[in-house]
Structure formats: C-alpha cells, structure tokens
C-alpha cells in the first residue's frame, strides 16, 4: 500500500468527479436544457426575422454559454464541502493545485465541452451563417475552459456561505467579460470571412494564464472557506 503518485491521484479524482456527474445525469443535462430554453427566448424577444437573429447570434450564443457556465460554477466544490470531503482533500499530502485543477477539469468536461459539442445545433436555430460554426465551436471549447477556471475561484470563495449562488455571479461576471469579448469576436470574424485564428489565439493565451493562476487562487479560497 504505497501512496499513489500525483498523476495517478489526479486521474483518480477526475474519474471520481466524472462518475459522480454521470450517476446524476440530470445535472449534466440541466445546463444544456437551459441553453436550449434561453435560445428560444431570443426570437420571442427580438422577433423572428432571420437576418436580425443571424446578426446577433454570435453574441447571443456566447452570452448564454457564459450564463449556463455561471449557473453550474457554484456546484464545483459544494457537495464536497457539505459532506466533509473537502477537508480531507485539503489534508491530503497531494498538491492542492493539481487536485483543484482536476475538479475544474471534470467540471469543464461535463459542461463546457458538451456545450461546445451541441452548440452547432443552436447556432443553426439562430440562423448563424455556416461559416461561423467552426469558429463558434473552437471559441467555446477554449473560452468555456477559461470560464470554468475563473468560476472555480468564485466557487471556492463562496462555498462556505449558505447562499453563494447570487454572490458568485457578482464576483465572477466582471472577470468573464474579456472571454465574452474575444469569444464572440472570433465568431463574428469568421462570419464575415475574416480569420478567426487571432481571436482564438488570444483565448488560448487567456486559458494558459488561467491554468497557471486560477487554481492557486481557488486553492487559497478553499482553505479560507474550510477555515471559516
């Protein structure tokens, strides 16, 4: 019975989180359902004119992706805080930075990745020109990972509070804005035939920065929350 190596441990955490998510499939389905329903709101609010919707589609799709990510962020550490697993994680000899990264990675796999995969469907419903769909997929793939990482900080800071749900939005929405700007810009660029790669590159840069720093802040937040 030797202590597991760190990569082994992280993979095990990832697997644990994914199994937990898969055994409660509605939790995975909810954000997608939310996405579909909010997509339906826009034609009702803005009018069904296809050209108008196509004009706004990049922004609309990105804003909904952002909101559905926001709604699930709160749950990243919540159940582990409630049942005491988080205490055990903090006392573990394994590096907390990588453990936190595994949690956030699992969250991204069941929210952001799935959202990116189904986004072409919603794009078609909103009349997004076909040229923009690849850029939408790629920008969501990169962008939602940044959102999950930043959301993890908010989740860590509010997990000890009884009502963290609204507060977490106030904390992290301002931090989401750069992702929204470049994510929707990538799609818009692709729609008018301009290269989307520069925007995706900037999203990639944001992702690198977020991977490097966000787990540090989230880990500090978890220690504070468990202490409080």
């Amino acid at each position: 019975m030797n202590a597991p190596s760190t990569p082994q441990f992280c993979l095990r955490l990832l697997r644990r989180q994914l199994v937990l998510a898969i055994r409660r499939p509605i939790e995975i389905g909810n954000p997608l359902l939310f996405f579909a329903m909010v997509v339906a709101l826009f034609p009702l609010g803005l009018g069904p004119a296809p050209d108008k919707l196509a004009d706004f589609a990049p922004g609309i799709l990105w804003i909904i992706a952002l909101l559905s990510n926001l709604l699930t962020s709160d749950s990243v550490f919540r159940s582990d805080y409630d049942d005491g697993s988080l205490e055990q994680l903090l006392l573990s000899p394994q590096p907390l930075y990588l453990s936190v990264l595994s949690y956030i990675g699992a969250h991204w796999l069941v929210t952001g990745l799935l959202l990116a995969l189904v986004s072409p469907l919603f794009a078609v419903m909103l009349n997004l020109p076909a040229a923009g769909i690849a850029a939408l997929f790629a920008s969501l793939l990169l962008g939602t990972a940044v959102l999950s990482l930043v959301g993890g900080i908010g989740a860590a800071l509010t997990v000890g509070l009884k009502r963290g749900g609204m507060l977490i939005s106030l904390l992290i929405l301002p931090l989401y804005m750069p992702v929204l700007i470049f994510g929707s810009a990538a799609v818009k660029a692709a729609v008018i035939g301009a290269p989307a790669a520069p925007y995706l590159a900037i999203l990639g840069a944001m992702l690198s920065l977020a991977i490097a720093l966000a787990p540090v802040a989230a880990a500090a937040g978890l220690r504070i929350s468990v202490d409080a």
Binding site: I153, G160, P174, I181, D227
Partner: protein
C-alpha cells in the same frame, strides 16, 4: 525597524498616529481641493470645442485615476495581510473597498453629466466608461463578499484573494474593452484618441489629481480608525476613549 512593525500591529498606536496624521492632512487636502477647483473653474480658458462643459474633467479625471489606483492599494494591502497575517493590512484592505467604489461611482456620474452636452446622450458605451463600470462591479463584488461572511477574519482573507485576482484581471479587462471599442467604433467619431491638453489646463488638473489622492488617503485613514474602534470595542483602551469623550 522591527519596533516599527511591532507598533503597526498595535491598534491603539495606529489609531493614535492615524488621528495625528489626519489633523495635518485634512486641512492640506481641503486647501488643495479648493485651490484646484478655483484654478480650474475660474482661471482657465474655455475649451474651443466644448466650451465650459469640459471643466468637469477637474472632478471626473481625478476620481477615475484615484479609483483605479485605489484598487491596487486594496490588493497590495490584501497581499500583505495574506502573507504576513498583519491585522492592520486587513483593516486597510477592507476600508479601501467602499471608498474606491464611491470614487468609481463619482467618475461614472460625472462622465454621464459630461456626456450629455458633448455626445448628446447620458450614456455611451465608450471604452473608458465601460471599463469604469466593470471596475465598479469589481469593487462591489469585494464589498458583497465581505458582507456575506459572518467570520470577519475569513472575510478579509477571501476579499484579499478576490482583489488579487481582480488585479491580474484589470489590465486584461482594460485591454479587451479598449480593443472591443476600437472594433465597433468608426474612426471619424473617435473621442478617446490621443489629444494634447494645454498646459494651462493641465496644471490645475494635476493639482486636482494630487488633491484626490490626498482625499483618498484621508478617507482611508478615517475609515480605518472607525474599523479599529469597531473591532476593538471590547478592549479597555476603547472603553476609556469613549468615557473620556462622553
């Protein structure tokens, strides 16, 4: 040197020294504010394009500059309290947030008032205004997080982490918003380009910026004194202080 740090950790000493500093700093601040306003409003020529309405920059620009700097003061105080577990840094950080939020709000309101005669509308999604709005959200996030925690010690640490995260993000947000604005803004009606400012207008502006920095310092010290009294309300020295003043 060590004795200085030791004293910094002593609430009565800090309360006293902040009071002494305020006694001298407050009159200086008031003088600088009045002098800057009088100079800017009465002794500068009207702008050849905007007439007299531009004079609001003597409030708008200093408030915006100090609001942004205030966030960094807050984050640095937060870092100090996280790293060295210094209670006074915690108090300083906590006291910064409402002042910074108020200054950001002033910058936004004066910006809107300035916008009406200049652009013909109260609100324009201009890069700087949008950035200021996000800064206001960041400040309010810190205030909201602090209030949400019952354990004020944990609240301080959590806010310190949040303000450090904000510090990393502010340059990214500013650059993103700047870029976003340039993408959506035809060059012909660009207001935020490099423009030269006449020295006769610049000097009173610099004086006003200095005055706002002093004002920020005064407000911070007063806020910290109030917070120290609040936290130390059960101690002997605060009780004695209250009895003496009663």
């Amino acid at each position: 040197m060590w004795s200085f740090f030791h004293k910094l950790g002593s609430p009565p000493w800090l309360y006293g020294i902040a009071g002494t500093i305020l006694r001298y700093l407050l009159p200086v601040t008031l003088l600088a504010l009045v002098a800057g306003m009088v100079w800017g409003v009465l002794f500068t020529a009207p702008d050849f394009r905007q007439g007299n309405s531009y004079r609001i920059i003597y409030i708008h620009v200093p408030a915006a500059v100090v609001a942004l700097a205030g966030y960094y003061v807050m984050a640095i105080a937060g870092a100090v309290s996280l790293i060295w577990k210094m209670k006074m840094a915690d108090i300083a950080m906590k006291s910064c947030a409402p002042i910074g939020a108020a200054l950001t709000f002033v910058a936004l309101v004066t910006g809107a008032i300035w916008g009406k005669p200049t652009w013909g509308t109260w609100w324009v999604w201009d890069a700087r205004i949008t950035s200021m709005l996000i800064l206001l959200f960041l400040y309010l996030g810190v205030v909201a997080l602090y209030e949400a925690y019952d354990n004020k010690e944990a609240a301080g640490k959590a806010c310190a982490v949040l303000s450090l995260v904000g510090t990393v993000n502010i340059p990214i947000i500013y650059k993103s918003v700047d870029w976003w604005y340039s993408l959506h803004q035809p060059a012909s009606i660009k207001f935020t380009g490099e423009s030269s400012i006449d020295p006769s207008m610049l000097y009173p502006l610099l004086l006003m910026i200095t005055a706002f920095y002093l004002l920020f310092t005064c407000a911070l010290l007063m806020n910290m004194r109030a917070e120290i009294l609040q936290r130390e309300r059960r101690t002997k020295w605060v009780r004695k202080l209250v009895e003496e003043s009663a």
